[in-house]
Symmetry: C2
Subunit: 346 residues, 2 copies
DNA sequence: GTGAAAGCGCTAACAC
DNA sequence: GTGTTAGCGCTTTCAC
């Protein structure tokens, strides 16, 4: 009954070497397309390997060569459209360079982030691409990390020597969104921004909002800046607050799509027509933004390009001379997508 | 300029052994909490390791011990609420058993699935949990795979000796949804099901629908069964087709939330009130189902529990005697969530 | 163009 | 309780 089916044959280069009466070194070279191997031997070896069902033991080769051909990726969560897009971009470039990708999620928790980093280092990944957790407010661990493995930060980045970054131009995103609302005739423009004030991405979106108002000569109104957690509930609460003001806004630039949806709900419950009375713009281009009614204007952050760029930076880093740090900073454009929720003019 | 900062100290058990004037084996044992090590030595070793910033080289230990403490996971896509829930469940149980999780996405493509499997095997994962790609229609590769590593299938499963599975009771899900619609007074109930007819999950949901109709004495109507790709567009097209019939339905059980949303759009565009004229039920409990208006009734597939169960099955398998195959099949209940889109009675 | 030999860092069987 | 020894499977000098 209990036949030892478990311990499979286990084909190694030794075995293949034996069948062909050559040495393991030759087999290894042939399989790795070492130029010093004759066409004939290469063919023979590859044939034999194929027939025997040989599959290189990545662990062994990694131990010996010091390279695992694996990239570690840490994202807050993989089920947000933005981050899953980034991952897609990473996988795209990585697999073309024959790298594997190991995805970890921090769930926006700092301790998880530390655990993930430790796990990836234990696995000896060749580099780490990450967007740090919301719960992360100090950055010594990244300073340490960058000395242990090539590190590229994306979206949520800090600027430190030796760390390359890719981010989107959140400032311009915020600016464009606000400018668009102004151009649609809105004059009392509110904004939702994050209570997690340490995150640059939100600071920048807010700054874009403020600068657009200023450029168009609209007076800033502190009460129109609502700090919330940018969830659906946060957006509802924010709208509820704004409509408790003596003079409610005629537009909201929401630093997240979900909070925009929350605002939309509140407005619908009050039968306030969108965009006629209030125009809305979200941020991130989550899929649901095109499903809701009215379809939500939002800002595209080009996640796939971001993942691709981050991976290319990693590849540049490891191809650089040992000891050299390639430090580059890329800013992608953020593009406004105009949909019904903000179209007051036709 | 080009200081060789790259080649970090590299702390190994050898180094620690030297500082303490003991052997690497002792260090290894101390770090792994081997009971034969004295409290004193253990403390000393751990202190020294901590101070030196030692971190075990997972690759080396994996090569020697034959265990990587890594579980490979293959999902069609990580950005669907259902699959990300499953992954969460997997990570939960896995990390408690000090396993790492390596997530791969097949993007529903068969070749990607094969590539992912190869990559995971190369990485010598201790087991693989997967939901196969929509593009997968033959299963020899799984038959082969299960001989190379413990394999647990979830959601999209096949039944083959030696492969454990976890799925949700799609039949009951379909049955309950349909039954609920009947009880709400609907009599002409249509359904959307997948054009990918080889997938059991959809077959079962359809079967549940059919059996409920039969049990309540409602005549089956072939035209009310609409095969589409279950996307938003598919749902719109499906509804469009149904409302071209001489007698349109008064309810639709949609085998996916997105297709239900498509139907909702169509109905709204025709100003057909939901649920008064037409009741809708979706499937999967995607987050947006609670956002849309009216909120969409749907079926909860308990993704987290599914991931947990799959991981537990994997753990059971590897704790079993070598050569023994633990083959278990778990079916989780699918629970109807009733929301406004199907509430015709109060 | 191929072989011989060493060793990546760790663990585990066997001594004592 | 600790040391000794061997080797996981592979790559990579260094020979010739």
């Amino acid at each position: 009954l209990c036949k030892r089916l478990h311990k499979l044959k286990k084909v190694t280069i030794h075995g293949i070497a034996k069948t062909l009466n050559i040495t393991p070194s030759t087999v290894s070279r042939a399989l790795n397309d070492n130029p010093r191997i004759s066409e004939e031997t290469r063919r023979l070896v590859k044939e034999a390997a194929e027939k025997a069902g040989y599959r290189v033991n990545g662990i062994a080769s990694a131990l010996r060569s010091g390279r695992t051909f694996t990239i570690g990726v840490i994202v807050p969560t993989a089920d947000r459209s933005f981050f899953s897009g980034v991952v897609r971009g990473i996988e795209d470039i990585a697999s073309n360079a024959s790298y594997n990708v190991m995805i970890c999620q921090s769930y926006d928790d700092h301790q998880s982030e530390l655990d993930n980093i430790a796990a990836l280092l234990r696995a000896q990944v060749d580099g780490i691409l990450m967007s740090y957790a919301r719960g992360t407010t100090t950055f010594q661990h990244l300073e340490k990390l960058r000395k242990q493995a090539p590190l590229v930060l994306f979206d949520r980045v800090i600027f430190q020597p030796g760390i390359s970054t890719v981010r989107v131009d959140d400032f311009r995103g915020g600016y464009q969104a606000t400018q668009h609302l102004i151009e649609q005739g809105c004059r009392r423009i509110a904004t939702f921004t994050s209570i997690h004030r340490h995150l640059d991405i939100y600071k920048e979106r807010l700054r874009g909002y403020q600068e657009a108002l200023q450029d168009y000569g609209l007076p800033p109104c502190p009460e129109y800046i609502h700090y919330n957690d940018l969830t659906l509930e946060g957006g509802q609460a924010g709208a509820s607050f704004l409509w408790g003001l003596p003079e409610p806004p005629d537009a909201i630039f929401c630093a997240s799509d979900l909070s925009a949806l929350g605002a939309m709900r509140f407005l619908k419950s009050r039968c306030i027509p969108i965009p006629q009375e209030v125009a809305l713009v979200g941020f991130a281009n989550e899929p649901f933004t095109s499903f809701v009614e009215p379809a939500l204007s939002t800002v595209n952050q080009h996640p796939i390009e971001m993942g691709q760029a981050a991976t290319r930076l990693f590849l540049e880093q490891i191809q650089a001379a040992p000891g050299t740090f390639v430090e580059k900073h890329i800013t992608l454009s953020a593009d406004l997508i105009v949909r019904q929720s903000s179209m007051r003019k036709t």
